[in-house]
Amino acid sequence: MKKLVALLTALTLLIGLTPIVAMAEEVPTFTIAIVRHTLDKGEDIGTKYAAQKAFEKTGVKIEWLELESGTETERANVMLASGDLPDAFLGVLSEDMLVKNLDSFVSLSDLIDENAPNIKAQYDQYPKLWEMLTMTDGSIYSLAVGDYSNPDNQANGIQFINKAWLDKLGLAIPTTTEELYNVLVAVRDGDPNGNGLADELPLIFCENNWAAHFTNFMGSWGFVDYYKIENGQFIFTPTLPEFRSCLEFYHKLASEGLLDVEGFTQTNQQYYAKLKENIGVSYCGWTPASNFDPEIAAEYVAMAPVQASDYPEIKPVVSGENERFTGNRFGFAITTSCKDPAKLLQWFDAQNADTATKMEWKYGEAGLLWEMDENGQAWALYPDTVTTDFTRENMKYTYGLVNRNPCLIMPNELEQNDPVKAPEAVVRLGFVNTVKDSFAAEVLPIRSVPEDKTSERALVYADLKAYLDSFVADCVVNGVDDAKWQTHLSNVDGYGAAQWTQWYQDFLDGKF
């Protein structure tokens, strides 16, 4: 009797399960690996408004494989090496990761025409995209995502200076390195923060903060990296006399207590804490609003790079580029593990059908962080429900995916900011406009390179960069004399400087 009951129960259970199993098979399901942003305070990505709407519209189920922010490179590299792949990567891959593993990805060139009419129309409108996305074997393996060109992103870290302090000390915004030096001395000795202590540390930076690298301070001498491009020539800057002059200037600042040398060692958190102490007069960053309380942030203004007093013929530069492509070229790539790439591509294409869908992916449901006017123009909204625990940045990443979304937002679709309703939203653009005349005239083209070439560059640059970073840091803290400079000049080729320069010259000349 017992056996019979058990058998019956088991049967009922089985019968009950069958429809579920059958249903699961009917719904096409794909796994997409994506980075979970640290500011996202929501539940899993599948619960976002746009993700749910996409499921209702396409009937395709997406299982989101969420990678913790900061671990994505390692984890994706491990997935690629082990062959245990998701169906697609969204906003995870870098150029190296794609190029080195092309065999693991599906060529989309032949699929786009039939399955992705929206994508095709976009790319035809901006043919530069076809060029940027085509790999050296002539195929397209990844599709671009993010904002095609966001004016806020034309510049990177911008140097800011506390105008209120300058006014208090009766000084003008410096325009040359000599004036900058005088300003910093005045700040060190003048106690502009008024706490009665000589705790001012005028110039602050942080090597562990992407917007505050020391190289930002090198712009006065005509470069913001270990290279510059002039008349189609790739020039290695660390051997130029002006490079030494730059190092000597900052060593002088460091030795007189005008530059915070802890910038070379401190963590990002320590850097933010230091900024909040209100002891510096100038630093590099995105906007002061993200580093200070509003009343202090308002004291800061953007500062065009100062002219090097010892090289009046050099035009100062700032890191950035006019009309820069700010999308992610390696945004969406389908792997060979995907059983039906055409279907997944159709799903991706459907997310690019109209501006409203794209904005929903970016910032969530309309009416929260954005709205559309009668002309189809999207406008950013600044809700007053923000708290310090749930800032607008939290809202952006909680409601939407911001720039790791499965769509490419074209320039005419980009949301606008109303300067009257939200004056703080246009502040960054104002800063960008202050420095944009100083963008370098020539930049590296965006083009894919073959696999052996990316490997060559990675190996050479790993050693070269480590050497240069530590040489610069050492010279700024301990100074540089003739002997040290001569050793540097004779050593640098041993670290692959010539090879690296030749690599980029060949790249510029279109040799690969």
Partner: protein, 318 residues
Amino acid sequence: MTSEAWQIQRKDQRARKRRLVLKQMKSNYFLYLFLLPAVVYLAIFAYAPMYGIQIAFKNFKPSKGITGSAWVGLKYFETFFNSPRFWTLLSNTLLISLYTLLAGFPMPIVLALMLNYIKSPKLKKFTQTVTYAPHFISLVVMVGMLNVFLSPRSGFVNTLITSLGGQSVFFMGSPDWFRHLYVWSGVWQSAGWGSIIYLAALSGVAPELHEAAIIDGANKFQRILSIDLPTIMPTMVILLIMNFGSVMNVGYEKVFLMQNNLNLTTSEVISTYTYKLGLQNAEYSYSTAIGLFNNVINFSLLLIVNRAARKLSGSSLW
């Protein structure tokens, strides 16, 4: 006896020996059962992955798999030996490890001997707890503490130095200070924990020996030299050999956390370099070659020290 008969006899002996071993194994099978998990663990996690070592000699492409990738021989080893940073990496690795060994090995022994002579049990317990405690601080927190305490502007160490009239020192940004900070913060963190095993060994010393020595008029130092040290000698030797086995495996996490552009000349070691190339730049073959080189040196060191220990003290790992 003819050589043939002699051979037959030897074969016979060997067979008998084998039978004996098997019989013993059978009767003690439960002991082998205890051993099984450890053997399985080692086989899966230590021996099976060695199959992958071959990618050091191949141009490994994940999509082609380990067997399908092209053979390049010693190419990656040559690249590493010719790298401008090879000697720096090697000497940094060796200096840091040997320094760690020299400073870190005797400390727990000294601490254990000291604790062993504390009369008041309360004081002994208290001291032990205080010295263990740092062991439980995570490395990230530990390095964060170093950064904060040693900051030239706000750290208490420099505040102390300047208040005594000295010059403030940029500890974390100095290549000369890096090794000392790394080693001594490690000693501070692990000496207490490491002393446990020696305390256990010391508790095995027969009290009669001490009593006899006291009657003979030996002082504490003489008792340590003639009673305590000989007793814990085997433990010391085994631990020393095991420490040597990991000489080249400088704990990469702590070095990596303490690294910055200013101290890179002394703080870049083989393991951090391998991590940067292998996981961050996805140069798997190259980093495997470097890792293999590292381990071959390690293994040779282990063999040498083991042999030396057997000759000198009579005890060794095998």
